[in-house]
Amino acid sequence: MSAPTLIAPAADTAPPRRRGRGRAAGVTGAFWLFVGPFLVGLVIFVYIPIVWSLVLSFSRAQNTVTPGDWIGLQNYLDLLRPGPFLDSLITFTIFAAFIVPLTFALSLGLALLLNGVRIMRAFFRSVYFLPTACSYVVASLVWKLSIFNGVRFGLANTILGWFGVDNIAWLATTSPPWYWLVIVTVRLWLQIGFYMILFLAGLQRISPELYEAAAVDGAKNAWQTFRYITFPQLRATSVAVLLLLLINAYQAFDEFFNLLGNSSFARPPLVYLYYTAQGNQDFGHGTAGAVILALLIMIVTLAQGRIFGFGKAE
C-alpha cells in the first residue's frame, strides 16, 4: 500500500508536478505531519498489542508472553463456562444499568440548566468540567479515605452522626451493598462534566428558528419544546454520549480496583483480567478474556452505529 493511495484521489492520477500539484503535495505532507505521530503511537501501543494478544490467546501462556504452546480455543472455553469471568460480566451489567442512564440524564439535565443560565456561564461550565481533569485514582482515594471511610471521622459518617446514626463501613458492608453508592458517586462526579460539555455543544447548535417556529405552532410548555424540538435535535450527540458511556462502563477498572481490590462480589471484567494476567501470570486466559471483551465492545458499538447511525451526517 503506497502512501498516496490513502489520500485524496487527485494525488494519484499523475506524479506531482512543480506548480499545479504543489498545493496537493503540501496538503499531503501536512496531513502526514499531523496524523503521522498519532498513527505511529496508535500502531505501536494499541494495534500491535491487540494482534499480539489475539495470537497469545490461542496459546497456553503461563509466566510467559511468548506464544507457542498452542491449545486452540481452550482459553476461551474455560472463560465462557460459569465462573468468575461470567460473574464479572454480570457485575458489569449491573454497573452499566446504574451508571449509563444516570450519567446520561444528569449530564443532559445539567447542560439544559447551564444553557438557560444567562450570567457566569463560563464559570459554571468550568466548575462542572473540572472534575474530568482529576484522575480516577486520586478521586477514589479521596472517596475512600475522607468521604466514605468507615470510622467516626469520615465525612459521611460525621454527618450521619449528627442525626444519631451509627458509623457505616461503606466499602465493606455487603448488605445493603453500600459500596455501590461509593462506586457510582465517584464515577458520576468524574464523568458528568465531560458529557455535559458534549450536550452543551449539541444544544448550542440547535437553530433558534426552530424554537420560534414551535412557539408559533403552539408548543405550550418547556416539556413540549424539549420533547419535540430539543431532544430530537440532540440525536447525534445523544448517540455519541451513549456509546462513550457504554464503552467506559465496560472498561471500568480504576475505581473498582482502588476501592474494592479483588473482591469477588463486585469485580468488573477488567479487574478480573488484570488479576488473571498480572497476578496469576496466566497470560493465555488474560488475553483471551481481553479479546472477548474487545469483541463485545465492538459488537455493541457496531450495533449501536447501525441502529442510530453514529457518525453519519445529519
Binding site: 493511495t5 509466566n63 484522575s135 448488605s175 464503552i247 479483588n262 498480572q278 497476578g279 496466566d282 458499538t301
Partner: protein, 440 residues
C-alpha cells in the same frame, strides 16, 4: 488498489472510533491518570558491563513501611565492592511490576519475592543452592521448606515475618476480658470490647479474606486454627474438611457480630488503628511492634492466632517475609548470586540492622535470631516464641490462581454470607485443575 476505496475522512473516523474504543472519553478529554508507575531511573541498564568496569546490578524491593529502610538498602548497595548496585524501591503494586519485569530483559537482576512454583517451572528464576549450601543448617526448617521446589532452593530469606494478635492490656483489664485462647473467646472478647467509638478487633478492612493490597491476612489462619493448611502434605486441597467449614462459620459469625473494625483509614498491616484506639485488639505483623511500643509504651501484649477450641486445632501464625532471588534473564547471574551471598548470607551485621533497626522482623539465620538483644524480653520475646513454636510456612505449590479461587470463596462466605459447601467446592475444582496442571 484503485481510487475510491479509502478517503481521508473515513480513515480518520476509523482511527477515531478505534481510539474511542480503547481510550474512551479520557483520551478525548486529553487528560486523566498519567502516572506511569515507573521511577524512570532505568538507565545504566543491566546488560554488558563494559570490560574492566564492575558489573551493574538492578536490585528491586517493594516499599517497606518503616522509616529508614530505604536508606538502609541503599547503604548496603553502596558498601558492596564488587558491582555497582542500583536499588529500585517500589511503592504500590510491586507484584505486578515485578511480574512484568521478570518477562523482560530490562527487569531486575536481584529481586525480593517469595518462591512460586510457576516461576521455577517456566525458568524465570535461578537456583541458589550453591551459595546457601554452607549456611543451610542455620536456617529454620520452615524457611527451607518454603524456599524449595523439587529439591532446589530458589531464595535466600532476608526477613522472616509473622503475625501476632496485639491487645491493649488496660482496655482488656477494664472490661474484665482475658487475652483470647480460642475462637469463641476471641468473638466474645471482640463483642465485649466494642463501644460506640471503638471496635473490639481489627483484622483488616477486608475482614481478612480478600487478598489485594496486602489484604487477606486470615486466609491462612482460618485454616491453621483447626490444624489444616492450604494444601495437604501430599498436595491435595486442605480446605474442604468439616473442621475448616466450622472455622469459616465462626469467621462469618465474627463478621456479622458488628464488633470488628471495617473501613479504617489504614489496613491491618499498619498499627495506626490499634494505637489510635479505633480497635482494642488487632491482628498485625511483628514489624509494627516498634511503632506500637513507641505509642503505647508497655500497655500492650501479644498472643498467637487462637486455636479453634480447647480440643480442636492449635495456636498459629503465618511465616511470611521476603527472600532474595535472581532473575534468569539477568545478564550477570553470577554477580547477582555473589551479591546475595555477600548481603543476605555472610553479612550478619547488615542482616541484623535490616531486621531489627526499623520495624521488627526475625533474622532468618537462627544463630542471629537467638542472640538478637531486641528479641530477648517483653512482647518481642513472646512473639519469637510463638514464631518458633507455631509458624506455618507457605507452600510454593500454592499458586496465585489457587489463592484467588480460595479467596473468592472465603470472600463470598464471610462477607456475603454465601453457602460454605458450595463456595469451597467451587474453589476445590479450580485448585484440583491447577494441581493437575502442575503435577499431572
Amino acid at each position: 488498489m484503485t481510487g475510491q476505496s479509502f478517503d481521508r475522512r473515513r480513515f480518520l473516523r476509523g482511527l477515531g472510533l478505534g481510539a474511542a474504543a480503547i481510550g474512551g472519553s479520557q483520551l478525548l478529554a486529553a487528560c486523566g491518570g498519567g502516572s506511569s508507575g515507573l521511577s524512570g531511573s532505568q538507565g545504566g541498564g543491566a546488560s554488558s558491563g563494559a570490560s574492566g568496569s564492575k558489573p551493574a546490578l538492578n536490585v528491586w524491593y517493594h516499599q517497606y513501611g518503616e522509616a529508614g529502610t530505604q536508606q538502609a538498602v541503599m547503604r548496603y548497595a553502596k558498601e558492596y565492592p564488587n558491582a555497582s548496585v542500583k536499588v529500585q524501591w517500589t511503592p504500590g503494586d510491586y507484584t505486578s511490576k515485578l511480574n512484568a519485569g521478570l518477562l523482560s530483559t530490562s527487569g531486575p537482576d536481584v529481586f525480593e519475592s517469595g518462591v512460586n512454583i510457576d516461576q521455577v517451572k517456566s525458568g524465570q528464576v535461578v537456583a541458589l543452592d550453591d551459595i546457601i549450601a554452607e549456611a543451610k543448617s542455620d536456617y529454620p526448617a520452615a524457611d527451607i521448606k518454603s524456599s524449595t521446589v523439587d529439591g532446589k532452593i530458589y531464595q535466600v530469606k532476608m526477613v522472616d515475618d509473622m503475625g501476632v494478635l496485639y491487645y491493649r492490656k488496660s482496655i482488656l483489664d477494664k472490661a474484665g476480658v482475658k487475652p483470647p485462647t480460642t475462637i469463641d473467646e476471641l468473638i466474645a472478647a471482640s463483642k465485649a470490647l466494642t463501644t460506640k467509638d471503638q471496635k473490639g478487633l481489627f483484622i483488616g478492612n477486608d475482614a481478612g479474606v480478600t487478598p489485594s493490597f496486602g489484604g487477606g491476612s486470615l486466609l491462612g489462619p482460618v485454616l491453621y486454627t483447626v490444624g489444616s493448611d492450604y494444601l495437604t502434605a501430599d498436595n491435595k486441597p486442605g480446605f474442604t474438611s468439616a473442621a475448616v467449614k466450622q472455622s469459616f462459620a465462626k469467621m462469618r459469625e465474627l463478621f456479622v457480630s458488628n464488633s470488628i473494625l471495617l473501613g479504617a483509614p489504614t489496613d491491618w498491616w499498619d498499627p495506626s488503628s490499634f494505637t489510635q484506639g479505633l480497635a482494642a485488639m488487632q491482628w498485625c505483623g511483628l514489624w509494627a511492634m516498634p511503632g506500637i511500643q513507641k505509642a503505647l509504651k508497655d500497655d500492650f501484649g501479644v498472643v498467637a492466632w487462637p486455636q479453634f477450641s480447647s480440643s480442636v486445632g492449635k495456636p498459629s501464625t503465618f511465616l511470611g517475609g521476603w527472600g532474595a532471588m535472581v532473575s534468569a534473564k539477568s545478564a550477570n547471574v553470577d554477580a547477582a548470586k555473589a551479591y546475595i551471598k555477600w548481603l543476605w548470607i555472610d553479612n550478619t551485621k547488615d542482616q541484623e540492622d535490616f531486621n531489627l533497626s526499623y520495624g521488627f522482623h526475625i533474622p532468618p539465620r537462627k544463630s542471629l535470631a537467638a542472640q538478637a538483644s531486641k528479641l530477648q524480653s517483653g512482647p518481642a520475646a513472646d512473639a519469637l516464641k510463638i514464631f518458633n513454636d507455631h509458624a506455618v510456612p507457605g507452600n510454593p505449590a500454592w499458586t496465585p490462581k489457587m489463592n484467588n479461587a480460595y479467596a473468592d470463596a472465603a470472600t463470598a462466605i464471610v462477607r456475603k454470607g454465601g453457602d460454605i459447601d458450595a463456595n469451597l467446592a467451587k474453589a476445590e475444582k479450580v485448585v484440583n485443575a491447577e494441581l493437575t496442571r502442575l503435577f499431572g
